[in-house]
């Protein structure tokens, strides 16, 4: 294993985040705080409850998960797209590193940034509503697993994209709507039965449900179903990246 290379890519990507700290960290925190103010304070009064949890506290896991999903995809996709765009990808392709090492470097950095942002949002939320985390280890596990999975998805998008527009398409047109409709701000149990069934086709439902369970011990779907879904998605992403590096899709002619 080329640990030095993994460390170099990781450090390089983290430096990029700190260099663009406004873009990478501050802006998602501000936008999430705005969500929190609008949905939590304006729509959820002090006596409003959702699934037995005060509404303000109920949306905390959803907000965290929504931001982690979008920032994971954005960070990882930009991280691998930019070398392609600038031409510096030649260095990655000509270096003595395997695809697993490339993944550990890029996805590790993108996931780290997302986890940090998620934790900052968690910290920010404590200023708005009181809440508790019933299973902190599970919470952290879910957070890290989700960040890794969606960073890997972002990595795939970054390789697939052949322009900046395409980089934005998936986070804006897929991830954000799925997050909004995946129970970030409501319990899917309050939906009519038909829409509950439709919601079950949304993979984000399982992530948010599992994550919310780690906070309050309540979930729309079983914890194990949530875990199975996320691990299944992680496996699909991993083998897709393996295929990309094996065939050189979009990387090598």
């Amino acid at each position: 294993m080329n640990y030095q290379a993994i460390k170099s890519i990781y450090k390089f990507e983290m430096n990029r985040a700190f260099r663009t700290v406004g873009q990478s960290i501050i802006s998602p925190v501000i936008s999430t705080t705005l969500y929190f103010v609008v949905f939590g304070a304006a729509m959820g009064g002090e006596n409003e409850y959702m699934a037995g949890v005060p509404y303000g506290a109920f949306i905390v896991p959803g907000l965290m998960m929504m931001t982690v999903l979008t920032t994971s995809v954005s960070n990882a996709s930009f991280g691998i797209y930019f070398p392609q765009y600038s031409g510096t990808i030649y260095e990655i392709l000509s270096a003595p590193i395997s695809f697993v090492e490339v993944l550990l470097g890029y996805v590790g950095a993108a996931a780290s940034k997302s986890v940090i942002i998620g934790l900052i949002i968690l910290l920010t939320s404590t200023f708005f509503v009181p809440f508790e985390i019933k299973y902190p280890i599970y919470m952290l596990g879910f957070l890290i697993l989700t960040a890794i999975t969606f960073s890997m998805l972002g990595f795939i998008i970054g390789i697939w994209a052949d322009g900046f527009e395409k980089l934005q398409v998936i986070p804006l047109l897929v991830i954000t709507p799925l997050s909004f409709l995946g129970g970030s701000f409501y319990s899917i149990n309050i939906l009519p039965e038909f829409w509950q069934k439709v919601s079950m086709l949304n993979p984000v439902v399982y992530l948010i449900s599992g994550f919310r369970w780690s906070f309050y011990g309540v979930a729309e779907v079983s914890l194990w179903v949530s875990l199975t879904m996320i691990l299944g998605f992680l496996t699909i992403c991993f083998f897709t990246v393996a295929w990309i590096f094996k065939t050189g899709y979009r990387l090598k002619n």
Binding site: S94, I97, K252, N253
Partner: protein
């Protein structure tokens, strides 16, 4: 010397069907400077791209110091440094960070002393904290060389290293290449400047339409394919070539004032006999000059064949 790079029956066809390389066979000896010459689109960059892992090959094999570029790609690539043709740099990074990153990427432990030494040799030391986007084109080119040298490669590929570089810097780069060779690095360069190949290379390969036309020691190539010409300026014009010289391929030019004779550069090709004939014919010679074909002329002839 032993072969550090062996290319056997290498072919490359792009997805669109364009055949960029066709059954290339080439051996590069350890410690030599090999110049690969060829017109635009001849396949030079494709060949380098395959060896370095940037492109996939269609068929054939490549080994670097005995390591196959596919089955043993890590060991093969760890020996190679690449300076690509395009100025592709991490524009927002500092010179120091960019060069240090390259060393790490190749699995080497940090060595600030070595990086400092490289940057000083490439006259980049005072720019080490500058962001790359602030540098001139020539400096960016040197940053790319520094990145390639940072991981101490045994083989260095320089793809058009002096493209867009001014004369002074170009000559400084030639010196750096000579220093690298002296330190044991094998260098493979592609260039449009034949003068550059003439100045630096030990051996020259000419590639055209994806095929290697010739590989030869530089001096041997000039001797083998070069032509010499003898030009005799006469005091009085001639109407035609004298009968005594008609056995030679001599042309009359400059309104009869000049006799021109082209011959093989390996011998005198009959120059002595021609001069004797001229003297015995009573022709008075005003001036006499010889010319030898340059590598550039040889190259042009080869690719036009």
């Amino acid at each position: 010397m032993s072969a550090i790079l062996e290319i056997k029956e290498l072919s490359k066809t792009y997805a669109g069907g364009f055949k960029a390389l066709s059954k290339i066979n080439l051996e590069i000896q350890e410690g030599e400077i090999f110049a690969l010459l060829g017109p635009n689109g001849a396949g030079k960059t494709t060949l380098i791209g395959i060896i370095c892992g940037i492109l996939n090959l269609s068929s054939g094999s490549v080994t670097v110091d005995g390591f196959d570029i596919h089955s043993d790609y890590k060991r093969a690539r760890s020996l190679i440094g690449l300076v690509p043709q395009e100025l592709a740099t991490d524009t927002f990074e500092s010179v120091w960070n960019a060069v240090t990153f390259s060393r790490g990427l190749f699995g080497k432990q940090p060595n600030p002393g070595l990086i400092e030494d490289i940057l000083k040799k490439l006259s980049l030391w005072d720019k080490k904290d500058s962001r790359i986007l602030e540098l001139s084109g020539g400096m960016k080119r040197r940053v790319m060389i520094a990145k390639a040298l940072s991981h101490e490669p045994k083989i260095l590929f320089l793809d058009e290293p002096t493209a867009g570089v001014d004369v002074e810097l170009r000559k400084a780069m030639w010196q750096q290449v000579a220093d690298l060779r002296a330190s044991g690095v094998t260098i493979i360069l592609t260039t449009h400047y034949i003068e550059e190949a003439e100045e630096m290379a030990d051996r020259i390969g000419v590639i055209n339409n994806g095929k290697i036309i010739i590989t030869e020691d530089k001096k041997t190539l000039v001797q083998k394919l070069g032509k010499k010409s003898l030009s005799i300026e006469l005091e009085q014009p001639l109407i035609s070539v004298p009968d005594s010289l008609k056995g030679y391929s001599i042309n009359l030019s400059d309104s009869g004032y000049r006799l021109e004779f082209e011959y093989d550069s390996r011998g005198d090709g009959g120059v002595s006999a021609i001069l004797e004939h001229i003297v015995s014919s009573g022709l008075r010679v005003k001036n006499l000059s010889t010319q030898e074909s340059s590598l550039e002329q040889i190259f042009v002839e080869l690719v036009n064949q």
